[in-house]
């Protein structure tokens, strides 16, 4: 999802404390920052929440690309608000990660030098205005699929961040679908653009859930700790089942000739995405990896004088206030 292929950390903790911790999780108690927690729980969470935060921040780039070229002033204001929300979501999540003992700058540096990842989806380009529709509808739709159950995650600060994010996320998906409806009901050229956006974003959206993890030990550990609530396959199936009727309503065709309703399982059968492409994107060889990281590095470097200047100013003022006392 926004956090893909997060490895869980092996843990060697005091068996008594571990048993008490696991009993709390089983009783659906929330774990709070100062509570005892296994080393592996802490490390896995930092990795997962950090990756999620990075995805929100990098996720501003593909949509930011269209702010100046939105077709109307209203669309521009809406897109601006959505991109601002993504920044806010990144900030909620960074704060949650920081309660685990990692600093904001460390997290940022790990993103900028490639030690931490962000979601594969943001390494795809947004070529037309219809892509703004597809991103809101499909990418945010897939994100919601994952984030709604995470509101019940065991770590208190993460759960509270997810609750805030979910409240705001539904606007994102609906504004995307609204763009798609407009395009799908527009001129033949607009409808072709909408179909083209669906064609390009369908499989990358399915990849967002990550490869099948039904046999993964990492996933099993994370599910036991309630920092992962569903398997990747479960969420992907749910996403397809929800999205196909929405595509039909638009009069668009999901680009999968194997897509077929399966009465027996009560869901659609569908083609897997090309996982070799996914692993290439994760490795840094997607269409926009270099561009995305370069943009984040430039923003960080260009902002350095502002961060330093404002801190120096605040310290000077504080020192003067002390001297005046």
């Amino acid at each position: 999802m926004y956090a893909q292929m997060v490895k869980s950390e092996a843990t060697q903790d005091d068996p008594e404390k571990l048993a008490a911790f696991e009993a709390r999780i089983a009783a659906d108690e929330k774990i709070e920052p100062k509570d005892w927690m296994p080393v592996g729980y802490r490390k896995t969470l930092i990795r997962q929440i950090g990756q999620h935060a990075h995805s929100e921040i990098v996720g501003q780039l593909p949509e930011g690309n269209w702010i100046t070229r939105a077709p109307t002033l209203e669309r521009k204001a809406i897109l601006l608000a959505k991109v601002q929300d993504e920044a806010g979501h990144g900030l909620y999540l960074y704060c949650a990660a920081e309660t685990l003992g990692v600093s904001r700058d460390e997290l940022t540096e790990m993103l900028l030098d490639g030690r931490m990842k962000y979601s594969s989806i943001f390494n795809y380009p947004t070529l037309t205005w219809a892509d703004m529709g597809a991103v809101g509808w499909l990418v945010d739709g897939a994100a919601i699929m994952n984030q709604v159950p995470l509101q019940r995650t065991s770590y208190g600060p993460y759960s509270r961040a997810m609750i805030r994010i979910c409240k705001e996320e539904s606007f994102h998906q609906r504004q995307g679908y609204d763009i798609m409806m407009k395009m799908a009901n527009g001129t033949p050229a607009q409808k072709r653009m909408a179909q083209d956006a669906l064609n390009r974003f369908w499989y990358p959206s399915l990849m967002m859930f990550g490869p099948s993890d039904k046999d993964s030990v990492h996933s099993a550990q994370s599910m036991a700790w309630k920092i992962k609530m569903n398997t990747n396959d479960e969420l992907r199936q749910k996403f397809v089942d929800q999205t196909v009727p929405q595509a039909e309503y638009l009069g668009l065709t999901v680009p999968d000739e194997n897509l077929k309703w399966n009465d027996e399982k009560g869901g659609y059968d569908f083609s897997e995405p090309d996982w070799s492409e996914f692993f290439e994107v994760i490795k840094g060889n997607g269409p926009c990896n270099t561009e995305r990281l370069a943009a984040r590095n430039k923003a960080w470097d260009d902002g350095a004088w502002v961060r330093e200047g404002m801190l120096a100013h605040a310290r000077k003022k504080a020192a003067r206030a002390v001297a005046a006392e």
Partner: protein, 111 residues
């Protein structure tokens, strides 16, 4: 979404490197309906004034509040989880502090 908590780090973990980071502020917001200020999260800012400006952008984009408090996270003193027993158990046993402890006959009417 509360303060960075070096005390929560496992023993022997690397001490966080000294950095020139903006300090962390805890943000409290009073909603529309005359309620108390409520903790909503935290953010980094160089000083209190900027913390309030940033809190407006981060935590009140949808009309969530009419008033903001900011407190530097390092200024907050919190009870320790290990004190949970001695701190809160004494009130647990005093069930007579709740109105439901007393049986009032139905004939008396609402009370």
């Amino acid at each position: 979404m509360s303060s960075v908590n070096p005390g929560a780090l496992p023993d022997g973990a690397d001490a966080p490197r000294a950095r020139n980071e903006w300090p962390l502020w805890e943000i409290f917001i009073r909603g529309q309906h005359g309620m108390s200020h409520r903790h909503v999260g935290s953010l980094h800012a160089p000083d209190a004034k900027t913390a309030i400006q940033n809190a407006r952008d981060v935590y009140t984009r949808r009309n969530e509040g009419v008033s903001i408090w900011v407190v530097e996270a390092s200024r907050i003193t919190a009870s320790a989880p290990s004190d949970k027993g001695p701190m809160f158990e004494p009130s647990e046993s005093k069930i007579y502090r709740h109105p439901t402890f007393f049986d009032i006959p139905d004939d008396v009417g609402a009370m």
